[in-house]
Symmetry: C2
Subunit: 334 residues, 2 copies
């Protein structure tokens, strides 16, 4: 869907929806289904890898450091802290429901979760390891060798297997059963009147042009600052960095609004901490519309109903290193 | 018990123990009991605080960063990484079974877990916050206010309540049911012959003089390098830093040997990664004894039976910050 189509669809929905319609199929936003896990052992392995700081050179930083599953799958910082406390270039997006994205990263430069997962391991500003070293670490640990053998039929352990396992775990990181989903599925009492009217307004003014689908985003690239330019010191150029086209400057993947109450600060530069301010920015910059306080509060109330069931699993226990394990290098002198 | 008494006790045990004795009561090492949780809600609150990086100024470092419960309650680094990637002064000891210690820290400068827990929050090299700020952060979060109110009868939130809750959680971090404990409780098949003979040797040569009790350590301060000096670049002076007495130089709290296979690298300077080397150092420096390869392997085999049941709970989910929450300061410019 392009923007005009989406805007039209959004408006049609809000004008034409009969009270008795099956909301779950007729609304521009659809409920999230719980993850279907076909290979639980692979998911378990991926979970261990996700929590394992030995995939970083320092031995200190894991995927969970920047996408903390106790905190909505983000670090709740404007930009991330990477190896040696280096400041990251951009806000860390949530991994929750990331499987629903049309592509990964703010500029969509990775096709899917598997393609994405290899990146941070060898990014010198993030985990600062490399694929050879990361695989060598895992190969030195008998429990990992056994797990990879059980999952992939051999003990070789390749980075391809590592990213397959991490992606399989990430695919389970969906957050069903938000109050909004309960309402979508027909429970009229799941939302207050204010929340319902916030949703109506969200559709009416055109937010659903960009924020639609089960993840309420993640399905298209759109210009940040469509009507009015976004002021930021962050040098990120968005999609143009991938396509090289000037027309793609400031085109970012529309972020999911699922769990938006947990994923502050907002926007690719993490400049806004307050959801109410982020909504105000969106209305003005993307839709040329100044919301009054009541309108803003209604939309914020609606957005807060999008917090779904958070990760619900036991803290993974990691198998210990061995004398053969390459040692972490937390400090230059070590 | 002083050293001589302990040595005698150790020797007596190994000479006099009849085969039919109740090992659980007659051995110098006793099994760990599962935690008795009298106030599960307080423990839950403490668990959240333990995992909450908002107790640090950067918003990035939690207790779990340096005492990672996925990794034996340590960071598996020689010395820790603190705020702004500062190098810590000493190896991070495990929090597992720390409740059994006669005092906390390598030099015992904190009387108990509660007295300890306030330290890292305001240590500029660790979490780099301060008690006022940490409490202000918690007070700004309605779910925390409600939890503290339910646990302590008021919403005030004091650092005393914070450390009470963290300590209550830490008290649950015991690791019962190691294979060695099963054997102690009478299951003869729980240990191999090599492991049993390793334990016999451990007692016979006098390791139990210092490593005894349920935690197999933690019950006394002893000189590191009793017979032969320990070579290290680490400036830590041990107990002398607390008492000011020259006689207390290099007196360190004897560490627990529970889960020793998980808590590498070893010694207060984290200089030894290999358990076999650590055992060799101990035998030479503390007992003036050069173990042969077979003896060393037997003791190491025994020590590896001390890995108990690791933390077994769900990843805690943290309540989100609010616009009132003081913002983290990960980088100077922010
Ligand atoms: C040092 C911080 C850091 C670490 C460590 C890190 N990430 Fe990220 N992650 C980020 C940042 C920042 C981005 C956004 C980068 C961009 O879009 O250019 C990102 C993007 C992502 C995305 C894309 C989400 C989206 O909606 O586009 C996924 C998925 C992801 N990371 C998963 C992982 C996994 C898996 C690991 C571990 C193998 C990991 N991350 C390690 C900071 C980190
Ligand atoms: C024309 C497309 C478009 C429209 C219309 C739009 N958005 Fe967005 N939205 C985006 C894009 C693109 C971003 C990411 C911008 C960035 O980070 O630079 C975004 C980001 C957001 C964020 C921050 C998400 C995060 O995790 O950082 C919120 C909240 C949000 N939008 C809400 C809304 C609301 C509410 C409306 C309607 C008032 C709306 N959006 C309308 C495209 C749109
Ligand atoms: C930046 C790393 C770091 C952080 C963060 C940290 N610790 Fe520690 N912890 C250490 C180090 C290093 C020591 C040993 C210091 C010493 O003995 O002088 C230690 C000692 C301890 C001890 C004593 C254990 C023993 O056997 O003596 C306990 C208990 C403990 N920490 C719990 C915590 C709690 C609870 C928090 C969070 C409030 C925390 N730590 C945060 C690194 C850290
Ligand atoms: C005289 C007291 C004493 C005796 C006897 C003793 N130890 Fe220790 N042990 C200590 C002290 C004190 C430390 C901490 C030293 C340090 O870190 O500087 C320690 C540390 C250790 C460690 C490393 C623990 C860690 O987590 O870093 C191991 C392993 C160990 N001892 C095993 C043994 C074995 C095996 C024997 C017998 C061969 C033994 N010890 C005999 C006092 C003793
Ligand atoms: Ca964010
Ligand atoms: Ca250690």
């Amino acid at each position: 869907m392009n923007l005009t189509q989406s805007l039209v669809t959004g408006v049609l929905f809000s004008l034409c929806l009969p009270a008795w319609a099956d909301r779950a199929t007729d609304e521009p936003i659809t409920p999230i289904s719980p993850a279907q896990v076909s290979n639980p052992e692979l998911v378990e392995l991926g979970k261990q890898l996700y929590f394992d700081p030995r995939l970083s050179r320092s031995g200190f930083i894991s995927c969970n450091s920047c996408h903390n599953l106790s905190m909505g799958g983000t670090d709740n910082l404007p930009t991330s802290i990477g190896d040696h406390w280096q400041q990251g270039p951009i806000n860390s997006p949530t991994v929750l429901n990331a499987s629903m994205n049309l592509a990964q990263f703010w500029d969509g430069r990775a096709a899917d979760l598997k393609a994405q997962a290899g990146g941070p391991i060898e990014n010198p500003k993030e985990m600062a390891s490399n694929h050879t070293l990361a695989v060598e670490v895992l190969r030195s640990i008998p429990e990992y060798r056994a797990s990879f053998k059980a999952r992939f039929g051999n003990e070789a352990i390749t980075i391809d297997q590592v990213t397959t396992a991490i992606a399989a775990f990430e695919e389970t990181l969906v957050t069903p059963n938000a109050r909004f989903d309960q309402w979508l599925k027909g429970d009229d009492d799941a939302l207050t009147e204010q929340e319902q009217s916030g949703y109506a307004l969200f559709k009416e003014i055109g937010c659903t042009a960009c924020h639609y689908g089960p993840a309420i985003g993640g399905k298209s690239f759109q210009k940040m600052g469509l009507i009015e330019a976004y002021q930021t010191n962050n040098p990120a150029q968005g999609r143009a960095g991938v396509t090289g086209k000037d027309a793609d400057r400031f085109m970012f993947k529309v972020p999911t609004l699922r769990n938006i109450a947990l994923t502050y600060p907002y926007f690719h530069d993490g400049a806004y901490w307050n959801l109410s301010e982020a909504v105000d920015v969106m209305a003005r910059l993307q839709l040329g519309r100044q919301l009054n306080d009541d309108e803003n509060a209604r939309i914020v109330a609606f957005l807060k109903t999008l917090t779904g069931q958070q990760p619900d699993f036991k803290l993974p226990i990691l198998p210990p290193s061995t004398p053969e394990t390459p040692r972490p290098e937390p400090f230059p002198e070590n």
